[in-house]
């Protein structure tokens, strides 16, 4: 009994965490290649199966094996497509997170820019004070005129900086808005891939039912053929 409990716990710890996560091994490209390969294999078998069994007698065992083979190929194809889409969805989720982080960073950078503008205004006020002081000194010593001109040039450069900060604020507002659209776009893509995965699960169930009913028809064709033969022999 205790051994069973340990096995159950081990299964819970080791196996369950892996369930629901994308297969870790092959990269997206190889999963896509595998899915395309499996689809091509199934496609070839599915196209040929009806013409092939049409030439066989109803109870020929090769009828059943041909139908089972195409059914297995269908399962393998849908499984491969599912793995590929799961991997795509995991990447899409990561893209959403990355875009959200970029947006948050950009929003913070826009706030920083406001700080930059305040600091530049503070610097401008300080230079204005220096200029006022220097004007008084220039009145006494003309040789300070060159320094006064240089200080005025610095103030002009600071104005240029303030203007380019203003321009940057406009560009950042546009980038923030575009990143918001990008986040919404990535979220929509993530949802769309998840919806396709759900649709694939439903389609997989339908394919299984389809091949099961096809196999059931083949069995019926065999059984009614076998029932007819002894009935006709009697009279």
């Amino acid at each position: 009994m205790s051994r069973l409990v340990w096995i159950a716990l081990a299964w819970t710890w080791l196996v369950l965490p892996a369930v629901g996560q994308p297969a870790p091994a092959p990269a997206g490209d190889s999963l896509e290649t595998i899915a395309n390969k499996r689809t091509a294999e199934w496609d070839q078998l599915a196209r040929g199966v009806e013409p092939k069994i049409a030439r066989m007698l109803p109870c020929d065992p090769r009828v059943r094996s041909a139908l089972e083979e195409v059914s297995r190929a269908s399962d393998a194809r849908l499984d491969a497509v599912s793995r590929y889409l799961q991997s795509a969805e995991a990447r899409a989720r990561a893209d959403v997170e990355r875009a959200r982080k970029a947006l948050a960073g950009e929003q913070a950078a826009s706030q920083d820019l406001e700080t930059e503008r305040q600091e530049a205004a503070e610097e401008r006020a300080a230079i204005d004070g220096q200029l006022a002081d220097l004007d008084g000194s220039v009145a006494h010593k003309q040789s300070l005129e060159d320094a006064r001109k240089k200080l005025a040039e610095i103030r002009a450069k600071l104005e240029e900086r303030i203007a380019s900060l203003q321009q940057e604020a406009g560009s950042r507002a546009e980038l923030t808005s575009t990143l918001e659209q990008l986040v919404a776009g990535y979220e929509a893509r993530d949802k769309a891939i998840a919806a396709e995965l759900t649709a694939l699960t439903a389609e997989t169930t339908r394919w299984k039912e389809f091949y099961a009913t096809r196999l059931a028809r083949a069995q019926t064709e065999c059984s009614i053929t076998n029932q007819d033969q002894p009935r006709r022999k009697k009279p």
Partner: protein, 357 residues
């Protein structure tokens, strides 16, 4: 050498902080270092020079700290948004176009067969007809499921297109910001250079005025001495030989802060009280860095009556900046401190001690 070590530790501490706090602190120190400098410039005469030099040093420290911060902010932004340059992943729709047509034609064939057996009273045939109808129902349901996934795949496709469009727009916006940031960084660099020039001009203006005071000037500095002709006597308080000549970075045990030079050669000439020179250096960049390790610039300007000399420089690719030459504790040592407008992938500041060749 001990003084240099202490100096480097102080510099390292000053440059280690890269947050806004570092440059804000440097700004406060600059602004509080001599708030009456301009107001007293008219009366201070030659005595203003060391005060101006001290304030210039504080301004340069602020400029360097701010440039460092801007560069760090730009790198952080680049790291945060570099992924935008890579086109978004576009998952394949994984729709087999043949599947639906195959199932549809199969469904039609099954239905046709079932219909053809509708009037047959044979129980076996009836049983077969039931199976055919069940198979047809299954094929119809399958067709609907395939169609539903196709629509979902179409949604994925249009979401991919929308994301690709937004991402391209975001890249354009980001490039515009990069340009704005470069412009703002360039303005900051130009301001730092202008401040260095301003303080030099302020000191020489104060000194010049004391040599030939205007008649209306009520106060002059009585101790000011008229400058000697520049071509005859050095204008700096130390012999010019402490700055001029050929200097090199030692192959081993060199002192530096920031980027470590692999080699650095400096040549300084003096002519009629004016300096001109060239620095050619190669720096050791961090592993994986794609930046340009080589830096070459020319500089020139007048020697001033201060221990530390500041000159305006221009690099081989047109960036502007300043270089400060600080005589070392021994006659054959010269500390170099330079900064230029930040340019992507270029070394834009450096601080190291050279030995006279």
């Amino acid at each position: 050498m001990k003084r240099n070590a202490v100096l480097l530790i102080v510099l390292a501490c000053a440059f280690a902080q890269t947050s806004r706090d570092a440059y804000r602190q440097a700004y406060r120190e600059w602004r509080q270092s001599d708030p009456n400098l301009e107001a007293e410039a008219g009366a201070a005469g030659a005595a203003l020079a060391p005060r101006a030099e001290q304030v210039a040093g504080a301004a340069a420290k602020y400029g360097a700290a701010r440039a460092e911060f801007l560069q760090q902010a730009a790198s952080a932004e680049e790291q945060r948004l570099a992924w935008l340059e890579t086109p978004p992943d576009a998952p394949s729709a994984m729709i087999d176009q043949n599947a639906l047509s195959m199932v549809t034609s199969e469904s039609r064939a099954v239905k046709r067969t079932a219909d053809s057996l509708a009037a047959d009273p044979d129980p076996g045939i009836k049983q077969l007809r039931t199976m055919l109808e069940r198979e047809n129902a299954s094929a119809v349901a399958l067709g609907a499921a395939i169609e539903q996934r196709r629509r979902a795949a179409d949604d994925v496709k249009s979401a991919n297109a929308s994301v690709a469009g937004s991402q391209m727009k975001a890249v354009d916006r980001y490039h515009a910001i990069e340009q704005d940031m470069r412009q703002a960084g360039g303005s900051s660099g130009a301001e730092s250079v202008a401040w260095a020039e301003y303080y030099v001009s302020l000191a020489s203006g104060a000194r010049g005025a004391s040599a030939a005071p205007p008649a209306a000037a009520p106060v002059t500095a009585p101790t000011a001495v008229a400058p000697a002709p520049p071509s005859v006597a050095p204008v700096a308080p130390l012999p010019l030989v402490r700055y001029t000549g050929a200097w090199t970075y030692p192959a081993t045990g060199g002192l530096f802060h920031g980027s470590e030079p692999e080699f650095a050669d400096l040549v300084v000439h003096e002519n009629n009280g004016k300096a001109d020179g060239t620095l050619f250096a190669r720096f050791k960049l961090p592993p994986g860095s794609s930046g340009d390790p080589v830096l070459r610039f020319d500089f020139s300007g007048e020697f001033h009556n201060t221990r530390n000399q500041v000159f305006v420089l221009e690099t081989s690719d047109g960036a502007h900046g300043t270089i400060q030459l600080i005589p070392g504790p021994a006659f054959n040592l010269l500390e170099v401190n330079f900064q230029t407008d930040p340019r992507p992938g270029k070394v834009h500041q450096g601080n190291f001690v050279l030995v006279k060749k």
